[in-house]
Symmetry: C2
DNA sequence: GATTGCATCGTACGGCGTACGAGTCAATTG
DNA sequence: CAATTGACTCGTACGCCGTACGATGCAATC
């Protein structure tokens, strides 16, 4: 009754995934569904970027009317949240692992997290939206388990998880926004060298010109893990 | 001539800051200027958030017509870039410092960076926009100098700067989006405990409920600095 | 056959960014 | 002093957006 303003219309109940197949579709196209909407939204986002996702175009791709989406989704914002959560799905590592493999396990999970998002660069720009979908929570839970097994005390888990999350998200968003095209790179080159009297150190480090993103990510990650989890692979390596 | 599509109109030349004061303003309000536009944009962003910044409202606040802004700015995107750069201004540390103080210096610069952005939470959501304004470059240059003085080799500077940048930006964006209000916190509480069978570790760590953001930031930062810069404050502390 | 509830969609509204071109006024030029 | 120029302002209008609303259609149920 006094619902905010969203649920005035019905909405597909979030109970089970009942594969109910209706007798025949109302049109030639398959019927709408949350899954279809979200996967198509990801396609559209991949193709056109964040600004390219418009409800009308999404509906077009689905062979549906624009307003039909709102039976399933509630708002465009919700589409973003669901799409972001979808690309973060994680199936875990295939093989079982030894107890001492926690570190490889953690690195794999975090590298894969970043890689998943970089496969869909638009996802990095949605990071500021406080979405905690099931897939994100799954990853966090798994990360917590790994750290726990590595000997991190419960009291320190909070800090460890957040530090790693922060680092991974920062690395993702930076890479997604600063991985310049060839043209951009030469432009940046010129700009920096033109201002080189003001920014000599930046120029010397070739910060924007040939960064080894993945290597840098891995290295910083190692340092963080060294500090956050005790023992094993001491920092005197 | 073959300019993209933006500079078809004139635009305040970016030469010097000539404090040319015209004889009398065309209206009672002070005349428009890039500075006035950007500072007012920051005010509006502080008050209304990212979605609250509309060209018409910005113009209203300035006592001007909406289209007058476009003489000075070129597009709304540019306003965002300029506003982001403005809040990142850094005047460096007041006192001079000893050569061995590099670590305090670095921590101060990075903590202040994060604090500056948290003072304007909208700025975190603009991080994905590849803006390298002068103030951001200044900070990066200063950070590079500090690390250089700490003994980081030129070849490692790139990695060190990016690792720190990534961590700081991640911590900022996370804190800005996940620092929940009291209501949100209890809602999250309920949600997590309801799903506690799926996420026992997250629940145990009280991840969203009482995180010590600033402490966690500081701790992770220390670990990164331990790894990135050799010597001093060894990891056996 | 009537009712109910799920699902779809056409229309329309208000608001957005901004292109365009006409206006104003100070400084410059002859 | 008149004419011209160029820096700056702004009213209007266009196209597009998200989505509220209400009218449908259709399957299952009574």
């Amino acid at each position: 009754m006094a619902a905010k303003h969203s649920d005035t219309r019905g909405k597909r109940s979030q109970r089970q995934y009942v594969p109910v197949q209706s007798a025949q579709p109302p049109h030639a196209d398959p019927p709408l569904s949350l899954e279809r909407i979200v996967t198509t939204a990801v396609e559209l986002l991949d193709a056109e970027g964040v600004d390219g996702l418009k409800m009308r175009r999404l509906a077009d791709r689905l062979g549906a009317g624009a307003m039909s989406l709102y039976w399933h989704v509630g708002s465009k914002e919700e589409v973003f949240d669901l799409a972001l959560d979808l690309v973060i799905e994680y199936s875990g590592r295939p093989q079982v692992f030894e107890p001492e493999d926690w570190r490889d396990e953690a690195v794999h999970l975090l590298q894969d997290w970043r890689a998943s998002m970089l496969r869909h660069p638009w996802s990095a720009s949605l990071l500021s939206r406080r979405a905690l979908g099931p897939n994100i929570l799954n990853r966090l839970e798994l990360l917590g388990k790994i750290l726990s097994r590595a000997g991190v005390a419960d009291a320190d888990l909070n800090v460890a998880i957040w530090s790693l999350w922060n680092y991974v998200m920062g690395a993702t968003i930076t890479r997604a926004s600063f991985d310049l095209s060839e043209d951009d790179r030469t432009a940046a080159q010129q700009r920096i060298t033109r201002l080189s009297e003001h920014y000599p150190t930046i120029e010397r480090s070739r910060l924007l010109l040939d960064s080894d993103w993945d290597g840098a990510f891995r290295k910083g990650l190692d340092f963080l893990l060294d500090g956050l989890a005790p023992g094993q692979k001491s920092c005197s390596r």
